[in-house]
Symmetry: C2
Subunit: 218 residues, 2 copies
Amino acid sequence: MTRDILRQALPNLTDPKLVDRLLEKGQFLTFEPGKTLMEPGQFIKAVPLVLEGSIKIMRVDEDGKELFLYYLESGETCALSLTCCSAARPSEIKAVVEEKASMLFIPIQLHEQLVDEFKQWKDFVSSTYQHRFQEMLTVLDAVAFKRMDERLMNYIVTKMKQLRSNELHTTHQEIANELGTAREVISRLLKQLEKKKWIELGRNVIYIRDDFEELIAK
Amino acid sequence: MTRDILRQALPNLTDPKLVDRLLEKGQFLTFEPGKTLMEPGQFIKAVPLVLEGSIKIMRVDEDGKELFLYYLESGETCALSLTCCSAARPSEIKAVVEEKASMLFIPIQLHEQLVDEFKQWKDFVSSTYQHRFQEMLTVLDAVAFKRMDERLMNYIVTKMKQLRSNELHTTHQEIANELGTAREVISRLLKQLEKKKWIELGRNVIYIRDDFEELIAK
DNA sequence: TCCCTACTGTGATTTGGATCACCGAATCAA
DNA sequence: TTGATTCGGTGATCCAAATCACAGTAGGGA
């Protein structure tokens, strides 16, 4: 039942009145991996709340280059959609389902009411802003100051944690897109990691040593 | 009088009760250009509201490299301090006075009360988040996808507008710091712009053609 | 006035990453 | 089964930027 899923995803939202309002007016939907939820330029008219699964948020350059920003996971929402939809501006980002996701879409008017009426919702929104700012700064640091090998290793760690697995089922091209670079660059860097025995490469799969994270910490 | 300065900086805050509270509990201070208001790692216990002048906000890398993020100008506040101080976390950024500034520091408890009590303040905070997210994305795009020559030209335009002048009194080193690169790179790129007659270089000063912005739009 | 320091200009070299040009191997669709 | 497509590997080359190494010059302070 949706109520249970919501309770599990957002245990902090204990106020039954708040939960009722969310369930009553929010739209519950599920999506399969790979589904694109949002493209740059589209307008969004509801605040997307992730209950289960995860959503990958990316920035897209005018000539199509992408850059991974962060994941939305269970109990999270997108700060950018909060800002975009209250300002009725087109999306600045692309959102793709990573793991099969169930989501609750909160109409923007309802969201604005809830901010005023429920401290729990206000706190939730405010902590979302905090959290996302933090992540944006992290990405900024990486892009501005780190070399691609380090960024790739961080990427692998992030993915492992997010998928709770040490096998990544993805292509080099896909990784390259998310890091905003070229496929060859990623292939070569992965090869270096394989030579160091930190990972093993297969077609469409990367096997990662359990102690990968300690290894990169050097 | 402080009340007038506040009214001028934030004409949207019309509610006299709100203004009274800000003036009563806020601390009014002025700072000279060059004054460092905040270093990474410091804790902040108040929301800084810029009334006059401008503040330069920068990200600092662990090995001291800097990256310009945005200016705070009259009527603006720092989204990062909003998040940092409510989470009681150390600052992630560096803030330096660019133009002689007068500021009102709002104690964090007062800020939290005002968010609940005054719609005008809530809207102000919310639009600050929006605004800053936008700017972070712009910086991210620049760092991830643009070459240094383009970034430098955008930098010059931003500075011109912000200082409302077509003379920049600064050093190549300073610019390099703000763009997170090396001085030589900036010197060479500036020389190229001078050869194209778009700017003129002097010691500690760059004279910019009035139609610079149209020129770079090509 | 002279010295020192900060600022600028520029060549040489290195490097990380992007781009181009292929190749073979795995996988899929007909 | 076979042809086409996708994926991964790798050499060659190019380019922006970083780094190193100086040298000249303007200004400020003693």
